[in-house]
Symmetry: D2
Subunit: 365 residues, 4 copies
């Protein structure tokens, strides 16, 4: 194995560059993966812009598809050369948080490394790739807690077919899982970017029979129908809350899924709910949120608001790849462009400006 | 039966008066109850002040303890003369909302009576006494959907012992039930008025082993200890969030229960939570709420926010009276004063100003 | 309205006959429905054979599709002439059992009518049509607790499209709902009669991605594929348990649904489960069951066994008709034959002997 | 550290002996614990008798209380000299089974060690101490997956106070957690040995308000009252099912917990249930079980049967020790005798024959 590799690193706000970097050493519980395909996420764009701070020189990216190059001495059950993915979130499943039901929220890693003064959980601390440790937009990536996080790719699935599993699909489906969907439900999904589209597919998979998707882009609404929406609303052309009330005979939706992260979508998601309904929030917000008194029935509406961070771990990945293998959902539609790692700066440019109908970009080292 | 009765009615903002009123007729699914004890709730004070609008001349009050005077022709399974209570919320259990899991949120009653243009649910519409129909601060009250709502009082329990069941205990316990409590949890309860005290008792009953209660009144904190709190915090003397972090070793609380209805308590309840924790909200808010970005982990903290309206129905009442009969919880402590119905205006005065260490007042027609 | 109607009644073991009967009077909470379509269920065959005892002269059948002929004086929210269905199980939603989460299990009706010495619940007592009161294989049927149980048929749906909702679809879907299905699960469904086929469709609707159906009849297995099965096993040609282990890589199924009611299917359902898996049982058993020690991991396997009676009520029916209207599931396939009520004896003959590829028979008064 | 230690090993059916054994080497993810207190479990008696097969020469016992002697190279977050416990079940939380919600049922350990031909889960495979690897009735024990399984003992708690946490308390409480207990429930607990007593305490902790415990030993029933039973039934003096029906007004119990592992207790537990009730089974059965048709309502009773293996892991142990520290439950009552490790054969003798009012024996190396 060569000692050096190419990696896209954060240099300063506005600049991500491909540089040469040492291939990392492999600890007893780690695995080194040779990346064959990865992608760019909206969060990476926040990092690029400096809106989400990471260390200078850190390799960015958190969606690994690749081949096992080298296994740590304590990693049993895998073979070098095996095709695998790992979740965007790589939890420490030995942690208190994971055993307590919140693997994505574990901070024990930070505590152990002396990076955190806290004694227990820390929100989002399960997100390590491209955040706390070097990420996946590189020729190689080191997967920590490899026995918990490496998921073998079933025979017959291509890189592109499983590329959404580590983050977009896991997050979008969690949005549907958090929405308390029951057979026959009406679910409204706000925003039809890649995560919202996966939330729509997830709501369909879980038995909702009236799925209403909302966006301002007709092309995305069209794809939304292919992912499972029964009705689509372009908020530029209609009053979304009034339309949902009309479609539900004045009753309101059983659930709403927020997949953008703005006051507007959050508030509308609350306003379309029936009393007793659930708001499943996926968005990454960038400012305080307001809960309008009336939308909240003054606190007396038996409402639920659930938030989520993308679930990870090999069992989650196994299940999502099963869904792909079963043919229930086709996320191939979402991969609209492909770039070499060397030209990733151009890919960021395209993706950040949503040019050319881009949904997701496959990056190939 | 005499044709007339005494009843406390809403006259105009600032004025509730005891007047003479006709004893109502009994429809096929109704029951007429002779009230032996009732009480005043914080919501009644809002009505008195005109902050919550009700029809002029409406009898107020929603916590009935009494004796069956007369049963509707279709009401089977009860006897005249039987001692009963009914919930503050009297759901129509035949409604779509009730069959869908939200009995307190049913609007079918309003639709049937032509009071509502909506086609389905309406938040809080299950609350009828002293809101949509004549209430309990009177010599008699008519209980609608009597077969669903009349709950016989077990032998040996006094009026005072079951007086909290219709509202305060049902609401406070629901706050604990909505908090996803598991054995060994840390739960923080914000505000120790009657409902918060019941939430504390409920958290104890459900297996929380570190219960921290918060209030600004030392006397209420003292009673809170008797209801089950392991630690008490007077927010006037300490930084509550910092104290909870200290008590939990930096981890945060598993759950927080909000029992007041203000921005401050709501926000603090969110700030004390661990990632993955649950905020159970009971308060009746009077203005928009703000969710601070940091307290919400930007939407990535796997948080839950659950709101509730007081559950009603005879099965709920049966269970709560079982709790009382078992001796697990003693709510007798909460009934600090007693007034005749004729002097209810004085009782409102005392209660609204929290004079004389008042918690709850028993009203006797 | 004519005072007499045709009705199929139980005469004695082996004999069901069409006779003339008085059209019943309508009490305050009842509704009289003119039946336009009904069907025969496996349970009716048990009644015919005398294996399940009912009163002589009772009208049989429990799946009503029809038109409201007359409403009771206290029944609001419906119009005469409206097309409706009602569940096979007509719960009293005012009962303790219903408020406690088990509407199908309510015995208060029996208590109120003096038919039962018990004080509380009685298993299956929510099943009234063709069991405790006159059923639906007649020109008219009286629906008790009409406000809770009448469900309007959405415009555009035919009788045949909603004919499965009252029983087969509600039961089969409940089997899937009781199986704790999560996205990506493997579910094995034992027996592919009408209920098993609906369980297969329900498992698909709820996100199972490997559905394995089992039967001894290749024709039914073929239909099973159309209802959503990914793999089918004819138990006459293979060792079902061994095949499931092979298909799951030795892991076992996440859930198994039993839809027949025999020791063999129950036992196999247990044997295919992974530790931690769920057995959802739908069958009506006719003798004691044996749980083999090894299949049960000596009681240490974290297994779940859930049984169910068909859920009823207007909200359940509304949801199921939504599923039909959404086009997610097409149960039209199941209605293979049609008979006039006058010739229902022939229909029983055909159905009881599973002649001519029969799945379900539409009966038209 | 001396190279040799004393350990109680299985020699042959009927013989457990204290022998000299090498202190094991410590792998990167292991921890070596110096045992200060351990105990004997009913399962150990099965092993002694040869009813549950283990390898000859294996150290028995699975309830460790001790001090960290040496940590593996990859074990962070602990200090040598720290007082700790570990669960009787030491799951591999990195496994598919654990990530799938069934940590006690993981077989990946077996697969990795080549001990199992299966590919996935194996029932009870999370139980390693004294079953698959050397156990705790010794001077030292090696804890595998130490980061997941070592739980520090809070200051101020004695060995005896936490001795029940690893198994008896975790199992008994799981029985209560699996019983779907809600506030106001009636729960019947069958058998009041150590696990049944803990189930009684757990049911109390979770809000059951009528707890009925059943045993044939009046002394144990007396202790049962101290652990939280409201009523006790000696099955030698009464018809338990009839008594429960009387105590519940003919309705039946909401839940029943089986804590012995016999046909009689299992069957009675089913017979006392209301329709819709839950049977939580804890017993280790030694032969096939029969489900009587009537007790099971022919499969139509909306019943639940849940089985469990003792939950393990550091978070579980932390929660249980919190319960002890809170003073909610006092399990000190259960430790009735104390023996030196050298005299453990006598302790087995006493315990196996339930002599001298023994409940649990503390063993001190």
């Amino acid at each position: 194995m060569s000692a050096m590799m190419k990696a896209a690193v954060f240099v300063e706000p506005g600049r991500i560059e491909v540089v040469d970097k040492r291939i990392p050493d492999v600890g007893p519980n780690d695995a080194l993966i040779r990346i064959t395909t990865t992608t760019i996420c909206g969060t990476d764009v926040h990092i690029l812009k400096g809106e989400y701070p990471v260390a200078k020189g850190l390799t960015v990216g958190h969606e690994p598809v690749g081949v096992i190059e080298k296994l740590g001495s304590a990693v049993a059950g895998y073979k070098e050369g095996q095709r695998v993915i790992a979740g965007a979130i790589c939890p420490d499943f030995n942690s208190y948080a994971a055993q307590d039901g919140a693997p994505s929220q574990d901070g024990s890693y930070l505590v152990a490394k002396g990076l955190c003064g806290c004694h227990g959980y820390k929100a989002t601390a399960g997100w390590r790739f491209g955040n706390l440790i070097d990420g996946t937009q590189a020729e190689y990536v080191l997967v920590p807690d490899a026995v918990a996080n490496l998921a073998p790719i079933p025979d017959g699935l291509t890189d592109e077919q499983v590329l959404m599993c580590p983050d977009i699909m896991s997050t979008g489906f969690k949005g549907a899982e958090n929405a308390n969907i029951r057979i026959g439900d009406t679910v409204v999904v706000f925003a039809q970017g890649p995560i919202g589209l996966c939330a729509t597919a997830g709501a369909r998979l879980l038995g909702a029979t009236t799925i209403i998707s909302v966006d301002g882009n007709d092309h995305r609404l069209e794809i939304s129908r292919k992912m499972g929406a029964d009705a689509v609303l372009n908020f530029r052309n209609c009053d979304v809350v009034a339309e949902v009330m009309k479609l539900t005979g004045g009753k309101g939706a059983d659930s709403a899924i927020e997949a953008l992260g703005t006051q507007g979508t959050f508030e509308s998601a609350l306003r379309v709910l029936k009393p007793g309904g659930t708001l499943s929030s996926l968005g990454v917000y960038s400012s305080d949120l307001t809960i309008p008194l009336s939308a909240f029935a003054a606190g007396l509406g038996d409402h639920r608001i659930n938030t989520a961070l993308c679930p990870g771990g090999k069992e989650r990945m196994r299940r999502l790849m099963n869904v792909v293998a079963s043919g229930r959902v086709d996320l191939g539609l979402l991969v609209t462009h492909q770039y070499k790692l060397e030209r990733i700066v151009e890919a960021y440019e395209l993706f950040a400006h949503q040019r050319d109908g881009v949904l997701k970009v496959a990056i190939k080292p």
